[in-house]
Symmetry: C2
Subunit: 254 residues, 2 copies
DNA sequence: CAATGCTGTTCAGCATTGCCGACCAACTTC
DNA sequence: GAAGTTGGTCGGCAATGCTGAACAGCATTG
């Protein structure tokens, strides 16, 4: 395979750098962080700014991500077939379970949330579409790691940080979890990522029976679990939703 | 000002092209649409793919936008100061009014929605964050056009399409609408964009009293209006919210 | 069933392109 | 006011990436 275009990979690195740090970054910081000459970095930033991918604070001169990225990210969702098919099923699942519902796909050693339905009550919640969740500690991540070979490799490679004392970190133990997930067809997360929160998820397959994503719900452990186990009613709802979406995508049910 | 980087502007054009068409595009289509040699287009696409900005359907070989854009768009929202400050106020406004609330900023001859709170009932709604609304027919757009000189120019330049029979299209009449908006400090949209929907919006100013965005609500014309006029209670709520956000941004209230 | 149009992809040669690093101007901070 | 910053610019060199043609895999077509 021929080499990639230098200026493009550098521009992508700039965007990722800007996405990483919370605050705005100056030209010199960008150049130094990426090991580029100031002139080079400036050329890239100037072009990205003209295209709307980057904005410059007129007073401080520092740079941040631009609005065009939001627009393009939204367009991505529009063409995303899995998401489009899953919309109504996710809604039903949220209604039936009373919990927040997430749909995620594998992306860059993590789970990218492509759809999120709020828990159907009036509590204040923040939308997590576009956010990344860890592969090794969430129900969505475990499902992907168990059924998608690529995700499996990435999950084993990545450093599995312990978010809580219940997080499974050790390789052998984690592999065991994935085997269980494969055999029973769904995964759970009992306060392994966030204290007090539990989640359940099941895999979504496409027409060629390849795993393309996962659907799951998350909620307070007191509501989701019973005697240390996930309520079987919720497990059934999640698996039903996953099957329905898969069928919508053309996967035959048998 | 020195010239922009060729390959970058071309890559941006590719992304915008992919964002425009609903369906996936083939290499040849991309190359032809942009007037590039096939080899050139392929190099750009290949690099964008490696960076995750573009994905290729393995079976058809066609290209579509990639997941990384969603992630970056999300990061954009994280850094967006206006949005961060406005979150709670938008929530309160939705609660008080019982309608969906939008926050928009000027972007590329339109209004980019950076925040959207669902109408507080159980109806099925689609999140419009990242979507573009027209400048000349929505309340948000009119507010921006009235108070932001840049938006004003763009609104006058752009071709104002008539979405409904009530849309104000003609230049003089539109200018009149903007003057009214300026004098009373808020704008409305009575079925000028979508049949049956009305909206109200007010401007948000930053610490230097420059207009940086707008906040508004949208709902069924029967609920929002009364005897052909927007309910004054809703107008007051929207303007209060706009003032609160502006104050949060450091704009002095007098 | 082969011919013919597609598709995406590769490659080598050439000159355009954009990278580099020094330089400049405008602000802070001593 | 000097010595740091900062972001921004510019000329010259060569590495870079663009071009256009040729390739391989697939469908549809004659």
């Amino acid at each position: 395979m021929p080499g990639p275009i230098q200026s493009l990979t550098r521009a992508a690195a700039v965007l990722r750098l800007l996405a990483g740090g919370e605050r705005r970054l100056g030209l010199s910081e960008v150049a130094a962080s990426l090991g580029l000459a100031k002139g080079t970095a400036h050329g890239i930033l100037r072009t990205l700014q003209q295209e709307g991918f980057v904005e410059q604070d007129t007073v401080s001169g520092k740079y941040q991500l631009g609005a065009e990225l939001l627009r393009l990210g939204n367009s991505y969702l529009d063409v995303h077939e899995l998401r489009a098919r899953a919309l109504v099923w996710a809604d039903d699942l949220a209604r039936a379970s009373g919990e927040s519902v997430y749909i995620g796909v594998l992306h860059h050693k993590g789970v990218l949330i492509v759809h999120h339905v709020f828990r159907p009550d009036d509590s204040r919640q923040v939308l997590e579409v576009g956010a990344m969740h860890p592969l090794h500690s969430t129900a969505l991540g475990k499902v992907l790691s168990a059924f998608d070979p690529v995700a499996h490799n990435e999950a084993m490679d990545v450093e599995r940080t312990a978010f809580t004392h219940r997080t499974v970190v050790e390789a052998d133990a984690f592999e065991k979890v994935l085997e269980d997930t494969r055999s029973r067809g769904w995964a759970s997360d009992m306060e392994e990522t966030w204290e007090g929160l539990a989640s359940v998820a099941a895999p979504i397959h496409d027409r060629r029976r390849m795993p393309v994503g996962a659907v799951g719900l998350t909620g307070a452990v007191e509501r989701v679990c019973e005697e240390g186990e996930v309520r079987s009613r919720l497990v059934a709802s999640v698996r039903d939703a996953a099957r329905s979406i898969s069928r919508d995508l053309g996967s035959s049910p048998f």
